[in-house]
C-alpha cells in the first residue's frame, strides 16, 4: 500500500517491515496532521497580525481580543504547541518506530493524547485572546490548558516508550533518543510549572526562576530536542549519506540533558549572584552540544550540498540545521555580559526565538511531514503545493530572523548611547521590525498551499476508503480508515 509513493528508498534500522511501520501510523496521521497544520495557519496569521500592529497604535485597536499583547502570545502558543510540538512529536514517534523496527505501540493512547492536546491548545489560544494569559513568558496559556497538554503528552509518552522498548534489535539509535527525551521533558517541565506556580505564596523572584526554567526547558529541550532529533534523521536521508558521527550525536544528547536545563539566567538578573553564575555556566556548557551538532551536520552535509538543495525537503532540513546552530550560538553569545549589556531586551532575542522555533523546529517538521503523510496513508501529496510551501516558509522565516536580529543590533547600539533620546532608539529599530512583517506575511501565505495539499490528500484517502468499503459490499469495519491496526 505504501510502496508506490516513489520516495527514495533507504535502509531502515532493522531493514524490514518499514511499510508496516509506516502503515501503523495511518490513524494518527489521518486524525492529527490536519489539526497541526490548522494550528500552523492560525499561528502564522496571529503572529502576522501582531507584526502589522506594530506599524501604528491604531492598527486594529478596537478590540481587546486583538491587542498586541494577546495576539502575539496566542500566535506563538499556536505555533509552538499546536504545530511544531504536535507535529514534531508525531514525526518523532515515527522515526522512533522506524529505528526500533516496530509498529507504533498503543496507537489509541497517541490518538487520545492528541485529542487532549488539541483541546488544550484551543483552550490556551482562546484563553489568551480572551484575557486569561498567565502573564508568564513562554507559558502564557492558562494553567487548565497546560494541564490538558501535560496529560496528552503523558499518554503519548507511554506509547513512545512502549514502542522503543518493543524493539527487537540490540542496536541503539541515539537520534531516536531525542524523541524519548522530548516526551519526558514536556511532562517534567510542564507539570513542575503547574505544581509550583499555582500557589499564591511563591515569591516573585522564585516565580521568575521557575517560569524561566520551565520555559527554557520546553523551548530548548522539548521542542529543540525534537527538532534536533528530526534533523539528525532527515539530514542524512536528504544527503543520501549516513550520519557522520554517533559520538557527536551522543554529546549533543547528553549536553541537552545535563547542561541546557541550567541555561535559565542572564547577567544582570535580579537574583542571587551564584544563581546567575550557574545559569551563565549552563549557557556555556550547553554550547558544547550545539557545537557537536554543528560539526555533525557539517560532516554529514559535506560533499552533498547539491543533493541537499535539489529537493524541497532537503532545502528545508538544511535550513533547519543552519538555524539550529545559529540560534544555539546566539543564545550562548547573549549569555556573555558584554553582549548581554547591549542586546538583551532588544529584538535580537526575539530573532533568536524565531531562529530556533521557526527555523530549527518548523522547517524540519515541514521537511519531514509530507513524507510521513505519504507513507502513512499511501497517498502522494501535490508536489507543486509542497514546493511552494517550502520556498515561502524558508524565505518568510529567513526574513523574519534576519530583520529582527538586525533591528536588535541597531536598537542595542543606540540604547548603549545614553545621550540618544529614547524615541530615537525606538524609531531606529522600527525599520527592521517593519521589514519583518514582510517575512511574517510570506510565512503565513506559504502555509495555505500546505493546508491545501494535506486536506486534499487526506480527503482523497478517506474517499478511497469509503469507495473500497462500498465496492466490497461490506459494512464499514473501520479497517479501511485504519481506525484500528
Amino acid at each position: 500500500m505504501t510502496s508506490n509513493v516513489g520516495m527514495p528508498s533507504h535502509t531502515d534500522s532493522a531493514g524490514w517491515a518499514a511499510n508496516e511501520v509506516d502503515a501503523s501510523f495511518r490513524p494518527v496521521a489521518l486524525l492529527l496532521v490536519t489539526k497541526a497544520v490548522l494550528w500552523l495557519v492560525a499561528g502564522s496569521l496571529l503572529t502576522l497580525l501582531a507584526s502589522i500592529k506594530l506599524h501604528g497604535p491604531s492598527m486594529m485597536s478596537g478590540s481587546a481580543w486583538l491587542t498586541y499583547g494577546r495576539v502575539l502570545p496566542a500566535g506563538w502558543t499556536a505555533l509552538v504547541f499546536g504545530f511544531a510540538g504536535q507535529a514534531g512529536t508525531l514525526l518523532g514517534l515515527w522515526t522512533l518506530a522506524r529505528a526500533a523496527g516496530q509498529r507504533l505501540q498503543a496507537p489509541g493512547l497517541v490518538l487520545a493524547g492528541g485529542v487532549l492536546w488539541n483541546l488544550g491548545v484551543l483552550a490556551g489560544v482562546v484563553g489568551i485572546l480572551a484575557g486569561f494569559s498567565t502573564g508568564r513568558e513562554g507559558l502564557e496559556m492558562p494553567s487548565g490548558a497546560l494541564a490538558l497538554l501535560t496529560v496528552g503528552a503523558a499518554l503519548t509518552g507511554v506509547a513512545g516508550w512502549k514502542t522503543y522498548s518493543a524493539r527487537t534489535t540490540a542496536r541503539v539509535f541515539p537520534s531516536a533518543w531525542f524523541v524519548l527525551l522530548g516526551l519526558i521533558a514536556f511532562v517534567w517541565f510542564a507539570s513542575a510549572a503547574l505544581a509550583m506556580l499555582g500557589g499564591a505564596d511563591v515569591r516573585g523572584s522564585i516565580q521568575l526562576l521557575i517560569q524561566r526554567w520551565a520555559g527554557n526547558g520546553l523551548q530548548r529541550i522539548w521542542l529543540g530536542g525534537l527538532a534536533l532529533g528530526l534533523i539528525l534523521f532527515a539530514l542524512p536521508r536528504a544527503a543520501q549519506k549516513p550520519l557522520a558521527s554517533r559520538e557527536l550525536t551522543l554529546i549533543s544528547f547528553w549536553s541537552l540533558v545535563f547542561f541546557t536545563p541550567w541555561a535559565v539566567t542572564l547577567p544582570g538578573d535580579p537574583l542571587p549572584r551564584w544563581v546567575v553564575s550557574f545559569g551563565v555556566a549552563g549557557h556555556t556548557l550547553a554550547a558544547i552540544g550545539v557545537l557537536a551538532a554543528a560539526i555533525n551536520f557539517w560532516k554529514t552535509g559535506e560533499g552533498a550540498v547539491a543533493r541537499l538543495f535539489s529537493t524541497s525537503a532537503g532545502r528545508l532540513v538544511t535550513g533547519a540545521a543552519v538555524a539550529y546552530v545559529v540560534a544555539g550560538t546566539l543564545q550562548y553569545l547573549v549569555s556573555l555580559r558584554v553582549v548581554a549589556s547591549v542586546v538583551r531586551f532588544t529584538w535580537l532575542p526575539v530573532g533568536i526565538d524565531w531562529a530556533l522555533v521557526g527555523g530549527g523546529a518548523i522547517w524540519v517538521v515541514l521537511s519531514v511531514l509530507p513524507e510521513f503523510v505519504e507513507r502513512a496513508t499511501g497517498r502522494r501529496l501535490n508536489p507543486g503545493l509542497l514546493n511552494l510551501n517550502a520556498t515561502l516558509s524558508l524565505v518568510g522565516v529567513g526574513v523574519v530572523v534576519l530583520s529582527l536580529i538586525l533591528a536588535g543590533v541597531i536598537q542595542g547600539m543606540s540604547l548603549s548611547n545614553p545621550g540618544k533620546a529614547y524615541m530615537d532608539t525606538v524609531k531606529g529599530s522600527m525599520h527592521g521590525v517593519r521589514l519583518s512583517s514582510l517575512g511574517f506575511l510570506l510565512f503565513f501565505l506559504g502555509q495555505l498551499p500546505l493546508l491545501a495539499a494535506v486536506v486534499g490528500g487526506l480527503t482523497a484517502v478517506a474517499r478511497d476508503a469509503v469507495g473500497a468499503v462500498k465496492s466490497w459490499g461490506l459494512a464499514p469495519t473501520g479497517k479501511g480508515m485504519g481506525a484500528r491496526s
Binding site: 486569561f132 513568558e137 516573585g204 523572584s205 524615541m423
Partner: protein
C-alpha cells in the same frame, strides 16, 4: 546505555539536577525572604499594593503589557538602564517579593516601567492628578502625548458618551484628530483607572542594603537631552 531503563534514569537525573539547582536550592535560600523595614521611613518594603493597584496588575497581565515592557533595572556595567534614568538603583529579588505573577518582561519595545511611578514628578503629591491624566491619555491613544509612538492604543478601556449635563470632570482632554465629535466626551472605564493605579505603584527606588541608592551621576548633557517634564507633555527617561 543499551538498556531502556538506564536511558530513562539518565534523562530523569539530568532534568532533576537542574530542578534542584535552579529552582529548589534558590527557593531554600530566598524563597521565604521577609519584607525588610526601611531605615528612613520605618515602613515595610516592598509595601502591599493597594487593592485598586492589584486589580490594575490583572489588567496589565491580561492585556499583555509585559510583551513590550520590562520591569527590571540592570546594574551599571550591564547596560545603561541607570543612565537612561529608568531607576535610581538596580532592581534585586527583594523588589519582586509581592509580585503575583512576576512580570519582568524580556523585550523592551517600550521603556522599562520598574519605576514609572517615580519617573514623573518624583513623589510630588501635587503632580499626582497630572500623572493620572497623562497615563490615561497615553493609554487612550499614545500619540496624544508621544509623537511617533508605536505603542498600541487602548480605546476599549474608555467609553465615548454623549455629554448630558455638562462635561464630566474625568473626561480626557483630547485635541485635534483625537478629540471626539462635538457633544461627546471620552471617560475612562474602571479598567483604565485601576491600570493607572498599578502604574503609579511601580517604584523600586527604596535604598536597600544589597542595592543602595547612590546619588545620580552628574551627567548634565545626557539629562538635558532626555528630560521632558509633564508640563511639556512627556516624562523624563
Amino acid at each position: 546505555m543499551n538498556s531502556t531503563p538506564l536511558l530513562f534514569l539518565g534523562i530523569l537525573a539530568g532534568l532533576a539536577a537542574s530542578w534542584w539547582g535552579m529552582v529548589v536550592a534558590p527557593k531554600l535560600q530566598i524563597g521565604s525572604a521577609p519584607t525588610v523595614v526601611l531605615k528612613e521611613t520605618g515602613q515595610h518594603y516592598p509595601p502591599t499594593r493597594p487593592g485598586v493597584a492589584q486589580q490594575g496588575a490583572e489588567v496589565y497581565r491580561s492585556l499583555g503589557c509585559n510583551t513590550c515592557h520590562s520591569q527590571i533595572v540592570r546594574p551599571e556595567g550591564y547596560g545603561h538602564d541607570l543612565l537612561r534614568g529608568w531607576g535610581p538603583r538596580r532592581t534585586v529579588a527583594q523588589d519582586y517579593l509581592r509580585d503575583q505573577p512576576i512580570m519582568l518582561g524580556s523585550v523592551r519595545v517600550g521603556p522599562d516601567l520598574a519605576n514609572i511611578a517615580t519617573r514623573m514628578g518624583s513623589g510630588d503629591s501635587n503632580a499626582q492628578p497630572a500623572m493620572v491624566a497623562y497615563h490615561l491619555k497615553h493609554l487612550y491613544h499614545p500619540r496624544t502625548v508621544m509623537e511617533g509612538s508605536v505603542m498600541p492604543a487602548y480605546p476599549f478601556l474608555f467609553e465615548k458618551r454623549r455629554i448630558v449635563e455638562g462635561p464630566s470632570p474625568d473626561a480626557l482632554k483630547l485635541e485635534g484628530a483625537y478629540a471626539p465629535e462635538a457633544g461627546y466626551e471620552v471617560v475612562p472605564k474602571e479598567e483604565a483607572r485601576v491600570l493607572v493605579a498599578y502604574l503609579l505603584s511601580l517604584k523600586s527606588s527604596a535604598s536597600l542594603v544589597e542595592a543602595p541608592v547612590i546619588p545620580p551621576p552628574t551627567n548634565a548633557p545626557v539629562k538635558a537631552a532626555n528630560t521632558a517634564s509633564i508640563a511639556t507633555g512627556g516624562p523624563s527617561r
